[in-house]
């Protein structure tokens, strides 16, 4: 009696969508490899069409994520297939290809400050600011999900900012001040 999903994906639509996907990848690759500009936008359009085909094949909930997964894997296979692999003659070693990059965060104190800002402080900032902003969303499951998604995205964005800001103190000060303000608002709301 128990059913599973795969049989609910129409194989003909899926096959057609996959064919479109391959042509689309081929056009984009052609544009990249041989500078055939004309194929670039049709390529992306075909990929969009193929995802539409996957949606028809299996619905928005199942077909679309399946199509996106297939697309990612097909492109990676395509890249590996067309790539330049090592041979006996070309097996060169010795890391001479890239120029030396300076500018890594060598100062330990700056690194510590960045990490402290990126994790504990950004977490506090994301939580408190989200809780204030989420008050605008209707209560219940919608608010709960909004809070969880927003905390994740805001925290991630703040972590990137903390680790890449030219002056590490800047994000730390902004996040600390905003967190304090948000906590104050939350306490007033109680």
């Amino acid at each position: 009696m128990t059913v599973f999903y795969w049989q609910h994906i129409d194989p003909w639509w899926a096959a057609a969508a996959m064919a479109l996907m391959l042509v689309g990848i081929g056009l984009i690759y052609r544009a990249w490899r041989w500078q055939k500009h004309s194929g670039l936008w049709p390529g992306w359009l075909l990929l969009a069409l193929s995802l539409t085909g996957w949606t028809v094949a299996g619905g928005l909930w199942i077909g679309l994520p399946t199509g996106i997964s297939v697309l990612m894997l097909l492109v990676i296979i395509w890249i590996a297939w067309q790539g330049q692999w090592p041979t006996q003659a070309t097996a060169v070693n010795g890391d001479t290809a890239l120029a030396n990059r300076k500018g890594a965060a060598s100062d330990r104190r700056a690194v510590c400050l960045r990490l402290l800002t990126a994790f504990p402080l950004a977490a506090v900032f994301a939580l408190t600011v989200t809780l204030v902003l989420a008050q605008a969303v209707a209560a219940g499951a919608d608010r709960v999900f909004t809070e969880r998604l927003a905390v994740t995205l805001i925290w991630a964005a703040c972590a990137v900012w903390a680790c890449t800001a030219t002056r590490p103190q800047q994000p730390a000060i902004v996040m600390a001040a905003a967190s304090a303000a948000a906590v104050l608002i939350l306490l007033l709301m109680r």
Partner: protein
């Protein structure tokens, strides 16, 4: 080949350098644990098949369900328990776990075709692997939150990775594995991370939300006034509380009603609340074939009449999205083909993590900075993880040795030895070989223990997976090992 980016565009070099530096800092902060989470998560996509594999001969595998089987199982559980619990749960057969198991008190037992109770459901190795993935084998309250933080970190890494690479479109298909090691690793890292970015973001964001949900709710409860719209727990009327014993629900009528009313839905769990009381109810949790949310609940009264649907489509948009995170994260929304896709895409996450650190090590070498100790430890982390996971499975199957100490003590021991001895190339070579041998050993041990059952049903899927991995590691070992590396000697181990 620069058609995808404007050739005259001059990006701000300082911006990209700063982004790259931040990306490296974020990645190096957590590389080892991130890698362990990725590897264990990639395998855990097949967790239901692993459950069957671990107890290959424990019970009959059949999709046959009827009211009589359910009723007898519930009656047997109540007889054994001696008291009436608040609820009894039954795992129903599904296509990826075609067994029935009943949970009562702190027991979980398989159910035979006639409803009699069989042995306990035991899955020590899969529990280890799952907990390694979602809690790093730490206490759940702490471990789940830590892994959630890794989800945030992975999200930040994907975003900063895109911002750090000005030539990401120019090099869209570049795959120059015949060039220097640094360029090989850079191409692998960048191509896989760009083209699999939707998958990486999906896994990272859903993982972060699942991991941090409890902590966020706790902080929300502490800082916000109580949610007045939340329904208060209904108090049972005194007349219904523990009145005289009632007969069990009419499972035949419930099952017949359900299969007629919802023929496409797949039930995976049955809950009987307040059994044998006047308020007893049955809820069937089902997978809807065209939806991602975890379950659609259908409630039935004891006499078999349908009371209504709960959760699933009845939930708000936010509730449906929250409930859909699990199937999206696990890759459980398209049967075996999507599981295989998630296995392969999960492998790209592992490769991206590994190559990220490899690039950083190659750059250190280029700058003449010391890298050998870190490189040795990194090789132990990479290949030690791939060797110890199957090694723990083989020991668990063969001698019931708990996998948690095998994995973590083994990792610690290797790290201590690698701290002072050998070279990175030696550690990589020996551990690649050890990974291949340990992975080959698992289906071998499984076959010895379970005989022909090892190559049927869930056992077949998992043993084929082990064999495929073992072949992959063997090929990787044969293709990449440097035949001229000296052997690890006693002197190496005594002190480098």
């Amino acid at each position: 080949m620069a058609v995808l980016s404007k050739p005259d565009a001059k990006p701000d070099a300082r911006f990209f350098r700063q982004m790259l530096s931040g990306h490296s800092l974020l990645g190096l902060t957590a590389a080892f644990l991130m890698y362990v989470i990725c590897v264990s998560g990639t395998l855990a996509v097949f967790y239901k098949e692993f459950w069957r594999w671990e107890q290959a001969t424990a019970t009959v595998e059949t999709m046959e369900v009827n009211g009589n089987r359910i009723e007898r199982a519930v009656q047997n559980a109540l007889d054994e328990l001696g008291t009436t619990p608040d609820s009894i749960g039954i795992d129903m057969p599904t296509s990826d776990w075609p067994r029935m198991a009943i949970s009562y008190g702190d027991q979980r037992r398989h159910v035979a075709l006639d409803g009699s109770l069989e042995g306990d459901v035991q899955r020590p190795w899969m529990s280890f692997l799952a907990r390694l993935h979602f809690a790093l084998n730490l206490p759940l309250e702490l471990g789940v939150v830590i892994v959630g933080i890794f989800g945030v970190l992975l999200t930040a890494l994907v975003v900063s990775g895109f911002l750090a690479h000005p030539g990401i479109l120019r090099d869209a298909f570049a795959w120059r594995l015949h060039r220097s090691r640094q360029l090989q690793q850079t191409d692998l890292h960048n191509r896989l991370s760009v083209w699999a970015a939707p998958f990486h973001l999906l896994i990272a964001i859903t993982g972060a939300i699942l991991g941090l949900a409890g902590a966020i709710s706790l902080v929300s409860a502490l800082l916000l006034p109580a949610d007045e719209s939340a329904p208060a727990a209904a108090e049972e009327p005194a007349s219904l509380q523990r009145s005289e014993a009632q007969p069990l629900p009419d499972f035949d009528a419930i099952w017949a009603n359900f299969t007629t009313r919802f023929p496409d839905d797949g039930v995976f769990y049955l809950t009987l609340t307040d059994p044998m009381t006047a308020s007893q109810r049955v809820e069937l949790s089902a997978i809807k074939p065209d939806r991602l949310y975890w379950s659609q609940g259908y409630q039935y009264a004891a006499d078999g009449s349908f009371l209504g649907a709960v959760g699933g489509a009845q939930a708000s948009v936010g509730g449906q999205m929250q409930s859909s995170l699990y199937r999206l994260h696990f890759g459980h929304f398209g049967g075996m083909p999507v599981k295989i896709l998630f296995l392969l895409l999960g492998a790209t996450t592992c490769v991206v993590t590994a190559t990220g650190v490899n690039i950083w090590l190659a750059k250190r070498r280029q700058r003449k900075l010391p890298a050998d100790t870190i490189d040795r430890l990194w090789q132990v982390s990479l290949w030690g993880t791939l060797a110890l996971i199957p090694f723990s499975a083989a020991l668990s199957l063969a001698m019931a040795i708990p996998p948690v100490p095998v994995f973590w003590a083994g990792m610690l021991l290797m790290a201590l030895v690698a701290w002072k001895s050998g070279t990175p190339a030696q550690w990589a070579a020996y551990l690649k070989l050890a990974s291949a041998l340990a992975t080959f050993a698992v289906p071998l041990v499984h076959s010895v223990r379970f005989g022909s059952a090892a190559w049927q049903g869930g056992g077949l899927v998992i043993n084929l997976l082990w064999l495929a991995l073992a072949l992959a590691w063997s090929l990787f070992y044969l293709l990449t090992v440097d035949r001229n590396i000296p052997r690890l000697s006693a002197g190496d181990v005594a002190g480098h």
